[in-house]
């Protein structure tokens, strides 16, 4: 499944937030969006998911414009992982993950035994089957994030969109969640678009990086985009990009902020 954003301008009523941007995400690609707060990352997601309509341009999935697609049709191909928050009712984790099947259900149906099996498989793949009967509002933030990813997987999508999947997670969980997403993308060939506030996250797992800042939109490999100049321009801080070898002698890059 190829996602293609073509000369799109997005924003609300009078305000245009992003102007004339184009990019594509292919099967198994992992695109990380970097940019300061308020630059329009979430608005871009909302446009892709059909919550708000484009001001101009088009969004295509495998060459087909999604403007007129129904919500169930979109939900069968795009899985969305929002920032975790809790609903007002004590749903079990399995209840929450099963809601990923709604797009596949008939109008009046509720999940069948087969849907339960698919939901359980998603939990299994993320290694969180033990959470199945727990109350969703009572598990930890990291667990909740994993449950939402499991719910998106239960939609059996070809494209996964994650809104800051690492926010509110401790350091270890941040890396664990990112590596899980990377594994899913590699194993199933799912295209992934995610936002992050940490350039290191892009170095860790992304095949592509898009940088959004006041000067516009730039996309390329992590090595090309995450440069000391670009970070200074985007975030207004001084950084050094360093490179070191991991356990297998592969180069790993890191972006280190400087105090002066």
């Amino acid at each position: 499944m190829m996602l293609e954003i073509k000369e799109a301008s997005i924003g609300y009523r009078q305000r245009t937030i992003l102007n004339n941007i184009s990019f594509t995400v292919d099967d198994g690609d992992m695109l990380c969006l970097l940019g300061p707060n308020g630059v329009g990352k979430t608005t871009l997601f909302k446009s892709i998911l059909g919550f708000i309509s484009l001001k101009s341009g088009e969004i295509n999935l495998d060459g087909k414009n999604i403007r007129k697609w129904s919500k169930p049709c979109l939900a069968k191909v795009i899985g969305y992982v929002p920032q975790a928050h809790t609903p007002p009712f004590p749903f079990t984790v399995l209840d929450v993950v099963l809601m990923g099947r709604i797009a596949h259900l008939g109008n009046f149906s509720s999940p069948s035994r087969n849907d339960v099996r698919i939901a359980e498989e998603s939990l299994e793949r993320l290694g969180i089957s033990f959470l199945k009967d727990r109350t969703y509002s009572e598990i930890s933030g990291g667990e909740r994030q994993m449950v939402l990813i499991a719910r998106a997987l239960t939609q059996q999508p070809q494209l996964l969109i994650l809104d800051e999947p690492t926010s509110n997670l401790d350091y270890g969980n941040q890396v664990r969640v990112l590596l899980q997403i990377k594994r899913l993308s590699a194993e199933d060939g799912i295209g992934v678009v995610m936002t992050s506030h940490f350039p290191d996250h892009a170095f860790l797992c992304s095949s592509q990086v898009a940088l959004l800042n006041q000067h516009g939109f730039e996309m390329g490999s992590a090595d090309d985009i995450i440069t000391e100049d670009n970070m200074k321009e985007t975030y207004g801080i001084n950084v050094r990009i360093t490179s070191l070898a991991d356990n297998h002698g592969m180069d790993v890059k890191s972006c280190v902020p400087l105090a002066n």
Partner: protein, 360 residues
């Protein structure tokens, strides 16, 4: 003093197992138990109050009617049973079920466990309609009809004004705020109607009507609540699973493949028919639509697949019991809204205590 048991892993395992056995019953089992309870309350309601009909007599009547056999009972019993007792019991069941179902749906739709079915103005609108009809000395059917129509009009006002304000953006918050405005507007109209009413006859009539009661219900009143009930409850039941997704918020529900605009319209349409017809028939009966969904959630969990049927059965049984109390407790009937508040408020506090882990 012994060290805490949890220090010993074997004991821990055992307590886990014990906890496993203590787990809440399967929702399907609870629903069957609730159905049995509902039937029991239904039958028991015939046997209490003035003109009580003993159970054997009642079953004889039902049995012989069903098979078209000749009557072995007095014509007084027949009149009491078919014109007064059965209509009243059915109306109590319907009102309880309707208010609870609407409350359950609205709590999910508005993502707030403190929401009750009158939030968009249905009850205030219906109350105003009834007050006006009483002011013009209308008969009981006209009062019911005018109240029903005004309840619908009030919610339509809320719905369309909020759509104008949010310009297709369809915000739930705007909807609730507009609902509050429309409710207080119609409450003011009710006060105006009371203020202009003759204090010797019309004012008490309006006041008592608003307090709620089923004393004047006869077979004639059934049609005007049964039809809206059926039209309202069916779509709500068919689409109930999607309410789960809506309780996660609009955008999440859309991303899961729910057409939120259409669904919201369907739930509001259904809940409005249910609430307006209930208030038009039984007066302003509070607390049922707020408390019963909580009780249902506690018994079968928050999944609407089971929670909505549980709310319907619990609500029906609850209001029927309240109405039984209302007509048996004293020589004079006690208005329903007084009883639902006196019983409902402490009960709600109890529920808050029991469920506080998930609130606080």
């Amino acid at each position: 003093m012994r060290p805490p048991d949890t220090a010993n892993p074997r004991v821990q395992n055992m307590t886990d197992e014990a906890a496993g056995k203590m787990r809440p019953a399967r929702p399907q089992v609870v629903l069957v138990v609730l159905l049995v309870m509902l039937v029991a309350v239904f039958l028991w309601s015939f046997t209490v109050g003035r003109y009580a009909v003993p159970l054997p007599d009642l079953l004889t009547v039902f049995f012989r009617k069903l098979f078209g056999l000749s009557a072995t009972w007095s014509s007084t019993l027949e009149t009491v049973l078919f014109n007064i007792r059965i209509p009243r019991i059915i109306v109590a069941l319907i009102i309880g079920a309707a208010l609870s179902a609407s409350g359950a749906a609205y709590q999910g739709l508005f993502r707030n466990p403190m929401v009750s079915p009158d939030i968009l103005g249905a009850a205030a609108g219906a109350g105003f309609g009834a007050a006006m009809a009483i002011l013009y000395s209308a008969g009981s059917i006209t009062i019911q009809l005018v109240a029903f129509i005004c309840g619908i009009l009030a919610v339509m006002t809320t719905y369309f004004v909020s759509r104008l304000i949010s310009k297709g953006h369809n915000s739930v918050l705007v909807l609730v705020l507009t609902g509050m405005v429309v409710t207080s507007l119609f409450s003011a109209f009710i006060s105006l109607a009371k203020y202009t009413a003759d204090p010797n006859n019309k004012l008490p009539e309006i006041t008592f009507w608003l307090l709620g009661g089923l004393a004047s219900i006869t077979a004639k009143n059934i049609k005007l609540i049964l039809i809206p009930f059926i039209i309202g409850i069916i779509p709500m039941f068919l689409y109930r699973y999607k309410l789960n997704a809506l309780s996660f918020g609009d955008e999440e529900a859309q991303a899961l493949g729910v057409d939120t605009k259409k669904m919201r319209f369907i739930y509001i349409f259904s809940a409005t028919l249910l609430t307006a017809s209930s208030v038009a028939t039984g007066g302003m009966i509070g607390w049922v639509g707020l408390v019963i969904p909580h009780l249902a959630r506690m018994l079968v969990g928050p999944n609407y697949k089971y929670m909505l049927p549980a709310s319907v059965m619990l609500g029906g049984a609850y209001l029927l019991l309240i109405d039984d109390l209302s007509r048996t407790l004293f020589m004079v009937e006690i208005p329903l809204s007084i009883l639902t508040a006196i019983i409902g408020a402490p009960f709600f506090i109890y529920l808050l205590f029991k469920g506080r882990d998930s609130w606080v």
